[in-house]
Symmetry: C2
Subunit: 275 residues, 2 copies
């Protein structure tokens, strides 16, 4: 099902700035029994993105009604929201007198093998780097060529996910997920002030982890050399949940207890879906 500004449809005008310039934002969430998981977190990030890009925020109650319509259709699936700056003539100038376009699409639940979350995955280190720009960092905007190229490397390497570094050589995230590392009693995730997407699940994991006794949580700049030191690592996003990393480059990891604990808690709290 696709709703475009509230109407069923399958296409968007060529003049839409999302198509012309990637001038927009998106959100992807899991849906279970007609309910999008972590909806407030996704809407909060979308609001923040609209503010930072100066895109007119869509009418909230309308958007929520449309989300409910599309999600209501889904026993189990994925819902994607795209908000663009709307249509305009030729030229980059961000027109001010138009309203945002909203596209809400439902997808089947992806058939990720359950062993990815149970046994973990092999990952690659992508050669494609993420550019650094604090003006765009953190946002889930529609300029995603770097992720497309990184994802192509994962496919070529026959692994389900890969780690991307920024152009300064810092660890940043997966091609479609955020990255966490575990070192003894410490949970560490890259700081995303210059590159990367501030994931909704990443934020919930950070919140939860602060409450786990004896666990030290750090958000910091991380060189790839840290991969030689850590005990474990995982990727996370709204649809995959948590995938432990078994192997990356020459490093092999176990699955520390904290990963199992987080997987359980995220499911219990309906932050992710159990499979």
């Amino acid at each position: 099902m696709i709703l475009i500004n509230g109407q069923a449809g399958h296409s968007i005008p060529i003049s839409d700035r999302g198509f012309q310039y990637g001038d927009g934002l998106f959100e992807t969430m899991a849906v279970k029994q007609g309910m999008p998981l972590c909806l407030p977190g996704h809407l909060e990030r979308l609001t923040h993105g609209c503010q930072r890009l100066n895109i007119p925020k869509p009418e909230w109650s309308t958007l929520q009604k449309e989300i409910k319509t599309v999600a209501g259709d889904l026993q189990r699936g994925v819902l994607k929201i795209i908000v663009t700056r709307g249509a305009s003539g030729r030229g980059y100038a961000p027109v001010t007198n138009v309203s945002a376009n909203r596209v809400i699409t439902s997808f089947d639940w992806p058939d990720y093998p359950s062993r990815f979350r149970e046994e973990g995955i092999d990952a690659c280190l992508c050669e494609t780097r993420l550019a650094r720009n604090s003006k765009l960092a953190g946002l889930k905007h529609l300029n995603r060529l770097e992720q497309v190229l990184g994802r192509g490397e994962c496919d070529a390497n026959k692994v389900p996910e890969g780690i991307m570094l920024d152009t300064d050589g810092n660890l940043i995230e997966g091609t479609m997920s955020n990255l966490f590392l575990i070192h003894k009693d410490r949970l560490i995730t890259p700081i995303l002030t210059h590159s990367g997407i501030q994931g909704v699940i990443r934020a919930r994991i950070l919140e939860l982890s602060h409450e786990i006794k004896g666990l030290e949580v750090r958000v910091e700049k991380l060189p790839p050399s840290i991969l030689a030191q850590v005990d474990g690592a995982f990727f996370c996003n709204s649809v995959m949940g948590i995938w432990p990393i078994k192997r990356i480059a020459k490093y092999h990891y176990s699955i520390p207890y904290i990963i199992r604990q987080l997987q359980r808690e995220l499911v219990d709290l309906r932050i992710i879906s159990e499979s």
Copy 2:
């Protein structure tokens, strides 16, 4: 007029990867008496972009026939070609079994005042920076949020164009054009190995300039401090032609003879349109 894969139309499927991820390329050219100017240069850049992004190259004879159809309609105007990686399901992975989508659109000739090219313009220095990524640098791809934000600054500053720096603080280009500086008998333009778009007119100006006796041509890394030293500067693209810069920040420039000579030669050689 809009041709979408050869058919008249106004919209593109939501599943198009141009809309989903900015996963594509574009070209914009001037049309005069039904003929696109510098068409070989634009097609060459498009080919190069397809190769670098591993986007299937559209069937060339078909694309050229479509360009001819859309341009033939225009006494005077602008033609824009968008090529995307085609449609796919959800997910960044660059699918390999689909063919590129082609969108060719005609636009009215923009009503830039003739004084822009005759008397020159005031320009701003944009605060929005261009991220550095050699993997994407030079390409006219569809990830153009930085240009959208930069262009918004030009509008806010009420100037027709602005200079953008990269995140390392080097001069790179205009928000919709390339940048040249003139210092005595030297023509200088920023090197675009890490940011910026390799403009078709920029390439022709470099070719022409190498033939001008006594003119030294340099392509190099340029700090903003050079703006205090140069005698003149200009922006160029396929539609504006050459706009001399009269003033930027606290610097005022004359219009050196070489700018007038290049303006004349580009028109004589039908590289740009005279107004």
